[in-house]
């Protein structure tokens, strides 16, 4: 599969990444190679094989519905780049 510069641009937008024209060309080249490599898997006949959602044999891992105290407000905000009062401060949304 060819990863076109346009597709790189689309994925970059979805991921909120800003790329230069050079980077778009570079990632287009490199990602195309990676996809071609992975496409070799397509040679294997997997008809009748259930898609694997998870490689672990473990199933039904639950936690009980019990409250565990959370973090103190100061601790919760400690690593935030910006805060105001008891809140995280983020660029305006609306």
């Amino acid at each position: 599969m060819k990863i076109t510069p346009e597709l790189v641009e689309h994925v970059a937008l979805l991921s909120r990444l800003e790329l230069t024209e050079e980077q778009k060309a570079q990632f287009s080249r490199e990602l195309s190679k990676i996809f071609e490599y992975v496409e070799q898997l397509g040679e294997v006949d997997v008809s009748g094989v259930e898609p694997t959602a998870h490689p672990l044999p473990q199933k039904n891992k639950f936690r009980p519905d019990e409250v565990v105290p959370g973090l103190a407000n100061e601790t919760a905000l400690a690593n935030a780049p910006e805060t105001e009062d008891v809140y995280f401060k983020v660029p305006q949304v609306l």
């Binding site: 689309h10 937008l13 979805l14 909120r16 959602a53 998870h54 672990l56 473990q58 199933k59 039904n60 891992k61 639950f62 936690r63 009980p64 519905d65 019990e66 409250v67 565990v68 959370g70 973090l71 103190a72 407000n73 919760a76 905000l77 690593n79 910006e82 105001e84 009062d85 008891v86 809140y87 995280f88 401060k89 983020v90 660029p91 305006q92 949304v93 609306l94």
Partner: protein, 486 residues
């Protein structure tokens, strides 16, 4: 050309668990901002989610009660998008192996009968945090409270089976009533624990094909959804009337202008790049768990309504009113068990108790009062009806007693004793009747001369004199015998 709406809903209900869906943080509403948070629900690197079994069971309970097929294995996927209230930059949801598929909700359309609204799928996901937009012109930022992030959220996606505003209204009320009967969600729309998103298109009436639909978000109450349906009927109708085409898009409700608005295309780029969440294992739905849950499902509103009609001989309307809330239906049945007069009990509940509650609740969207808030318990209503049916008190006295029961919390028997409200027996009535006849000779003569209806005036006068303590059933014969008429 007459157009009909084709409507489906995405229903979001916060599940009633103690802890969040992937971590142990409390789900309590109204906690100080950013205090019910931990590395998992704040999306800190390295923190791993583990599914809350309580949330899983409530979701499964809902799916089973909606008659869904339960696939043997359910898995969770990541839905990727960027928004500040979503700390991980993805929402853990389900996109492939849903918890439940198919199924239906029964809604009672009164004379039009019971309709099944199909369920496409039902899945478990997490809620997002809350953005706060400070007031002021110079403000160029938002604030974020992550207490709600990671709350267990159930999404029920219906099929486009709804065909009118009225059906949509009944559906939303029925869904809320259903979820409350099941006791899986608080369904407090004012707190956002129940939300409806609308999918709507128009098509010529009688057509089998669907038109192009739009999805509308930001609808925070049932009455707003109804306003939105009206607005879209008008907008889509106008576009189609001019020969235009509806654009498939997500629109936002503008409550000030009462119209929907298209979101910018950037926001509607719905490329969520779902993939299985590697942090969560598969879940096999065990047969014994299903059986265990099935055994605890309550009788649901539509079934209960039907039974009330058959078992108690109530009208469809009355049965619907009494079964809309589980508490009211329980109250009714408790009272009827104590005094077997279903119609009498039903009338008193509807005329007195529900009226009292309506006067005090905040309307359809406000705080919903249940009959548990009503100061008169079921046994007291039963006792009042028993006293009335046995002739110990008159209907008029019963009506006087009711506000006293509400104010004092005393039982009707105690109040009857205290206030001396027992009906007067004939020996006590005798002199009063004679006095009334003496005072109203003209009326008395009319009755003697065959004007039977005139006796009403005498009965009324005695009632007035005794402050309602004469029993009308025995009073009329007593007056007649005094006048020497049959």
């Amino acid at each position: 050309m007459e157009l009909e709406p084709v409507i489906g809903f995405e229903v979001h209900a916060e599940l009633k668990t103690r802890a969040k869906v992937w971590c142990g943080c409390s789900t309590a509403f109204g906690a100080p901002p950013n205090t019910n948070v931990c590395p998992v629900c704040m999306g800190l690197p390295g923190a791993l989610p583990v599914l809350n079994e309580g949330a899983y069971r409530l979701a499964l309970r809902t799916a089973l009660a909606l008659h869904c097929d339960i696939p043997p294995v359910t898995t969770f996927d990541r839905k990727n998008y960027y928004y500040p209230d979503l700390p991980k930059n993805y929402q853990i949801s389900q996109n492939d192996k849903f918890l439940g598929k198919g199924g239906y909700l029964e809604i009672n359309l009164g004379e039009a009968g019971v309709k099944q609204v199909g369920i496409d799928n039902i899945h478990l996901e997490e809620d997002a945090g809350k953005n706060i937009h400070p007031e002021g012109t110079a403000v160029d930022y938002s604030l974020l409270d992550l207490n709600r992030a990671g709350m267990p959220l159930l999404e029920i996606v219906t099929k486009p089976d709804i065909r009118s505003r009225h059906e949509a209204h009944v559906f939303m009320n029925s869904m809320r009533s259903f979820l409350k009967y099941l006791d899986v969600s608080d369904c407090k729309m004012e707190e956002g624990s129940l939300r409806f998103e609308l999918n709507m298109s128009l098509r010529p009436k009688g057509s089998e094909e669907f038109g192009t639909k739009v999805e509308v978000k930001n609808l925070n109450s049932i009455s707003v959804v109804l306003k939105c349906i009206d607005a879209e009927l008008e907008r889509q109708g106008a576009v189609l009337a001019e020969g235009g085409a509806i654009i498939q898009e997500t629109r936002l409700w503008d409550d000030v202008e009462a119209v929907t608005r298209a979101m910018r295309t950037k926001e509607t780029a719905t490329d969520y790049r779902y993939f299985p969440d590697p942090d969560l294992v598969d879940f096999e739905v065990k047969e014994e768990v299903k059986q265990e849950i099935l055994a605890t499902l309550p009788e649901l509103p539509v079934a209960r309504c039907r039974r009330f009609e058959e078992q108690y001989g109530l009208s469809a309307y009355d049965a619907g009113l009494l079964t809309a809330q589980r508490q009211t239906a329980d109250y009714f049945e408790d009272a009827v068990r104590l005094h077997n007069n279903p119609k009498g009990v039903a009338n008193w509940i509807m005329a007195e108790a529900l009226r009292w509650l309506n006067e005090r609740s905040g309307g359809e969207e406000g705080e919903e009062l249940t009959i548990e808030h009503f100061p008169v318990p079921a046994p007291a209503i039963a006792e009042l009806l028993r006293l009335l049916d046995e002739g110990t008190i008159t209907g008029k006295i019963a009506k006087q007693l009711f506000p006293m029961m509400i104010d004092t919390g005393k039982t009707p028997s105690v109040l009857v004793e205290e206030k001396g409200l027992k009906p007067l027996d004939d020996s006590a009535l005798d002199p009063i009747v004679e006095e009334v006849i003496a005072n109203m000779p003209k009326v008395a003569d009319d009755v003697r001369n065959g004007k039977a209806k005139a006796i009403g005036a005498l009965v009324g006068a005695v009632m007035k004199k005794t402050q309602g303590k004469a029993n009308p059933a025995t009073l009329t014969p007593l007056i007649k015998s005094k006048l020497g008429v049959e």
